[in-house]
């Protein structure tokens, strides 16, 4: 399939999701259930995107697990996004060299 079609569907869907409520709706959402689902959804989405995909993100599960563990620890201590992200990569890189050395 054409890459252009994929990007068009992606861009249009994402735009409409943003644009319609911002432009059209003027009423407050009342349903407590829907509000609750929308409250939990971002965390559930990011989690499902991360696990298990992160374990395959470096091409080697050992280095990926090292990066994941470091990221979770850094995030637990509320470090900034970019610090957590770069540390995960650094940990995976160090693990890569350790594996080279012992392997």
């Amino acid at each position: 399939m054409s890459i252009f079609l994929y990007i068009a569907v992606m861009a249009i869907t994402t735009y409409l999701v943003r644009m319609i409520p911002f432009t059209v709706f003027r009423k407050q959402i009342k349903s407590r259930f829907i509000k609750s689902v929308l409250f939990y959804l971002p965390y559930a989405v990011l989690t499902a995107m991360t696990i298990p995909a992160i374990f395959y993100s470096t091409g080697n599960m050992m280095t990926a697990v090292a990066g994941t563990v470091v990221a979770i620890i850094m995030a637990y201590f509320n470090l900034p996004l970019i610090v957590v992200a770069v540390s995960a990569s650094a940990a995976a890189l160090i693990a890569h060299f350790i594996l080279l050395y012992i392997g």
Partner: protein, 231 residues
Amino acid sequence: MRSPYTKGLIDGIAIGLGYLSVSFGFGVMAVKAGLSILATVGISLTNLTSAGQAAGVTVIAAGGTLIEMLLTQLVINLRYSLMGFTLSQKLDNTFNTPRRMLVSFGITDEIFAVACAQKERLTAKYMYGLITMPVIGWSLGTLLGAAAGAVLPSYISDVLGILLYGMFIAIVVPPAKKNRHILFAVILSIGFSLLIKYVFTFISSGFAVIISAVAASVITALFFPVKEDEV
């Protein structure tokens, strides 16, 4: 007195710098998945979102259907609807429909957070300013990442593939630590996601994210509906 546009521009610098580094990770990842540099930058310019783009690239790399792409983007980016709705209550009365349609393109988690923190009502000019640096940072970072991904030694581009996921972890862990109900949703989501990946292997990765996230959120919402002041 600074103009509203300049004030927005300045407020957006930190976001732009953050995006520059995170989108670098997206660029590396997309090129690794087989996309051209042009397509990769095109995605960032037209989408301006991390999670949705990462999922979109996964769908493209797997040769998924357009319906799968549409549903993936819809579910992953649904939070922008809520943010857009929330922001729409805060706009000043010069914010007509064309301006709303233009500004809505720039609703992201960080821009939403900064816009919400403003004491006064939001003007279109302030929002144009606020969105400028993030769009530049996001597109430029993607370009640099995509270009680097094509020339860096593979062991470097391999470990950069984890950048974006590291950022997702950094977004999820702190609130999950503070709020047990969020933690419950996160654990459910991990459970469903692993179950689909290793047991129900016929489900594609795009749908796996949708099914896991919606199931986890609905179940958590049924057990632990949020209080009025939480949302």
